[in-house]
């Protein structure tokens, strides 16, 4: 594929994808399920090899955690979608007379991020094939090799299970022009865009329907009712997972003054390193790219001690996270923004109300619609907090990385595409899965609205009758 010049490559790939979509349209649910099973097994059986490949190529995260990501993307995703009806008639309600028919969308362009490369490829392939959609993998340049190898392994497995030829394709070369040519190609039915905000915006601007994801800036509120050692332990399980590369990972911890010392002490007990003012400034300088107004890619997915060393901060090798006490949220305080690394901002609030206000400020500072978390043992507090957040997922007493992805600590659909709602410029706030990749058409049988049929329609022509009067007449038992 790589020998072809870019635009002919796009055209040739799309012609093959169109043919694959046509052939896939004939497949039964049984055939689809057999293919999905084979693809899941191939991904799962190669989970370690592909995790190591991703780590070696990108230098981001920990290969052991990438194995777990690959497990979520295969075993948990498969278990979640395997019994889902995605072909033909999927529901038939004789009362309403509505019959729902699942139709595939067509070729899907999958944009893959550098932070979760192999797992996102596995996930997007599984949900696309389950919905009978061919898929084209467009990997991040720095993760091209591991993405292509993943796609190749899964494609071989799909073919062995009699999947249509070219139901999985990939881009050998990666360039902005080529990606944009794919995005705006008339035959791409949908873009599944996971990546930086610029890339997601480009996808939305292409004119092709897009399910994108917004950035996260996850606030975690530890309420006074929480079990503090447990909360800290769970936060660390999440924040250190793959060195903080999941966009749903905790970015800031917010506590009330009455428990702040206890929380900080617990973080220190669990190998967290609390920074002083000078250290915080040095960390900011290396973790934030002031010119671009973004996290510095050099710290993404690196371990805490390595980041500390870069910043000239003395820490033990086994430091879990770097904790930066700060007081402000906004562009003037970079550590209040999303940084995909084991760095946690720490806020102390005077009261419950102030703590929640800080969480709202964090949530709206680059993380609208994504994820928020709370540790509390007070149901009223949990609901009050959740109602005030703008987050597709509010995870409770749960590590937010694993909690938001779903399937491990809760019953959310396991997903590597976390919708952030319109606040995050997304069309959904769901954990995206196979059912989002279907067009549902409805047979609507005649079921007359008897009240409307019997109602004297001339009343609608009488301007003197107001809504409440019409309602009275309409609902009159006669």
């Amino acid at each position: 594929m790589s020998d072809l010049p870019q635009q002919p490559f796009v055209e040739q790939t799309m012609e093959k994808a169109r043919h694959a979509a046509a052939v896939f349209n004939q497949y039964s649910q049984e055939q689809v399920d057999r293919i999905v099973r084979a693809v899941y097994e191939a991904g799962f059986n190669n989970r370690i090899k592909l995790a190591k490949l991703a780590y070696e190529e990108t230098g981001i995260g920990r290969w052991q955690d990438k194995v777990l990501k690959n497990v979520v993307a295969t075993q948990l995703v498969y278990n979640d979608i395997k019994d889902c009806k995605t072909v033909g008639i999927i529901s038939d309600d004789p009362i309403t007379g509505i019959v729902e028919i699942a139709q595939p969308m067509g070729p899907i362009l999958a944009i893959i991020p550098v932070t979760n490369p192999t797992s996102t490829v596995m996930f997007k392939i599984l949900i696309s094939l389950k919905a009978r959609n061919p898929i084209i993998i467009s990997p991040a340049g720095k993760a091209k090799g591991c993405c292509i190898e993943t796609a190749r392994i899964l494609y071989e497995a799909a073919l062995a299970a009699d999947a249509p030829e070219d139901c999985i394709q990939w881009c050998d070369s990666v360039s902005r022009d080529q990606t944009q040519a794919f995005m705006s190609h008339r035959d791409v039915a949908l873009i599944l865009a996971t990546g930086g905000s610029g890339l997601v915006k480009t996808a939305y601007s292409s004119g092709t329907p897009t399910i994108g994801v917004g950035a996260g800036n996850v606030p975690i509120f530890i309420h006074t009712s929480a079990d503090i050692p447990f909360a800290v332990e769970q936060i660390l399980i999440s924040k250190t997972f793959d060195n903080g590369t999941i966009c749903a990972s905790e970015q800031a911890v917010v506590v009330e003054k009455s428990v702040s010392d206890a929380v900080l002490l617990e973080f220190q007990k669990q190998k967290g390193r609390v920074l002083d003012t000078a250290e915080r400034a040095r960390l900011t300088a290396i973790a934030w790219d002031t010119k671009r107004g973004l996290m510095n890619p050099d710290v993404v997915g690196q371990c805490a001690s390595k980041i500390a060393a870069k910043a000239g901060i003395a820490t033990p090798e086994d430091t879990s996270v770097l904790i930066a006490p700060i007081t402000q949220v906004g562009d003037h305080e970079p550590l209040s923004s999303e940084i995909l690394a084991p760095i946690l901002a720490f806020f102390v609030a005077d009261s419950f109300d102030d703590a929640v206000k800080t969480c709202i400020a964090l949530n709206y500072h680059g993380g609208i619609g994504h994820t928020a978390g709370i540790y509390a043992n007070d149901e009223k507090v949990i609901k009050e907090f959740a109602l005030l957040m703008n987050a597709g997922r509010v995870v409770v007493n749960t590590p937010s990385s694993q909690g938001a992805v779903g399937g491990i600590f809760n019953m959310l659909s396991p997903s590597f595409t976390l919708g952030c709602g319109t606040g995050g410029k997304n069309i959904t706030s769901d954990n995206v899965t196979a059912r989002h990749l279907l067009n549902i058409q409805r047979i609507a049988r005649r079921r007359e609205n008897q009240k409307f049929q019997r109602f004297d329609k001339s009343k609608y022509m009488d301007e003197s009758l107001r809504a409440s009067q019409i309602e009275t007449l309409f609902n009159r038992n006669s």
Binding site: R18, H19, A20, A21, A22, V23, Q26, D162, P164, E165
Partner: protein
């Protein structure tokens, strides 16, 4: 799978059953042989076809490119098969009565 009928300067090929990948392997050769006689037109009759794989779509495309729009067409495709050609963007090959 395929029955080749020469009717004057026209070649009509009647396909039947499921045109899946394995079953299609010999069809390419049969079509090539039929085209060696340099017919004026080629017709694929799909009346008995119930499933089409990518390999058959490619065969149609190849024959279409070789013969040209006016000299190659498909007849008797069922609605389900017609839909496959439509999704594939190859519906211009299908001749309706």
């Amino acid at each position: 799978m395929a029955q080749v009928i020469h009717e004057g300067k026209e070649v009509r090929i009647r396909f039947s059953g499921q045109l899946a990948s394995a079953a299609c392997e010999t069809l390419d050769v049969e079509v090539d042989e039929a085209l060696l006689r340099e017919p004026e037109s080629v017709v694929f009759d799909l009346a008995e076809v119930s499933f089409i794989a990518s390999i058959f779509l490619r065969l149609c495309l190849k024959t279409f490119k070789k013969m040209g729009r006016e000299r190659f067409y498909i007849i008797n495709a069922s609605p389900a098969v017609t839909k496959i050609f439509t999704i594939a963007g190859l519906d211009e090959m299908i001749k309706t009565a």
